[in-house]
Symmetry: C2
Subunit: 158 residues, 2 copies
């Protein structure tokens, strides 16, 4: 599979390293060349310095030929914008965005954009560890976060 990843932070570099080792054709983009040192030493994919919300960078990453695009920068807005571009302009069949804000994650999921809300999953896992419970499913953790966020009057939206 040809996969393009935007954001070489901890999560992006882990996905890139693991999928490269699994034999996939991986290209990873980051604004900051220093970020690429997080990649494992056996990473055999391509690295591109650039901004993921301009078409030029995405074209250099040959996004038009990609099977999948993943956006895992630290900005929810940037992740959402880039997956929209990937889906609409580059017709990438599979796009996934990491979203911190549970309400946004749910809203975009309804629009057909697959999202992974790490806030919900982290909070759910820790609660269950504290209570000594079995871990729930990912879907249940997502609901936990949404229920909480929708009850918050002052929920932060960046």
């Amino acid at each position: 599979m040809k996969i393009v990843i935007l954001g070489c932070g901890r999560v992006g570099s882990t996905i890139a390293s693991v999928m490269s080792r699994e034999g996939h054709d991986v290209t990873i983009i980051d604004q900051n060349a220093d970020a690429f040192r997080r990649l494992s030493s056996d990473f055999s994919g391509k690295t591109i310095v650039g901004n993921g919300i301009d078409e030029d960078t995405l074209r250099r990453a040959e996004l038009d030929r990609a099977d999948a695009f993943v956006a895992v920068t630290n900005g929810d807005n940037r992740n959402i914008m880039s997956v929209q571009l990937a889906k609409v302009r580059f017709k990438v069949p599979k796009v996934v965005a990491r979203i911190y804000d549970p309400i946004r994650a749910a809203a975009y999921a309804e629009l057909g954009i697959e999202t992974v809300c790490t806030t919900c999953v982290g909070a759910g896992l820790i609660r269950d560890k504290v209570l000594g419970r079995e871990f729930s499913t990912f879907e249940e953790y997502l609901r936990l976060g949404i229920t909480n966020a929708s009850m918050e009057g002052e929920h932060e939206r960046r």
Copy 2:
């Protein structure tokens, strides 16, 4: 259950809000009073402004009477230091630290400190979404992160 949470970011505020709603006695600590606006409007626990690695703050949170302590600040070191304090000085029966670095998470887990590595879980969930696979267990995602990190020569350690 009486639970003390250090760090009122997205994950900390979600755990605090959900567990308060579930009827637990929740105290949450953050260095920055502004962070408490992330709590849901029906949060009925206590908030304390302070640093979680000094004993005075932890004493104000009545950590000596707590059943559980959770450290979810943005710093791995701070989380580890505070759970050690909670365990050794305050004899808290259950402590959990959120750790970004997979190698550290595994090392501390071996020392009996329960850790949740959100990097591993996030990377694993996204990889499986991209590949259209069933989600794995959280234990498998943890191993994925560790395997990757231990193969990285230049893995970042903050």
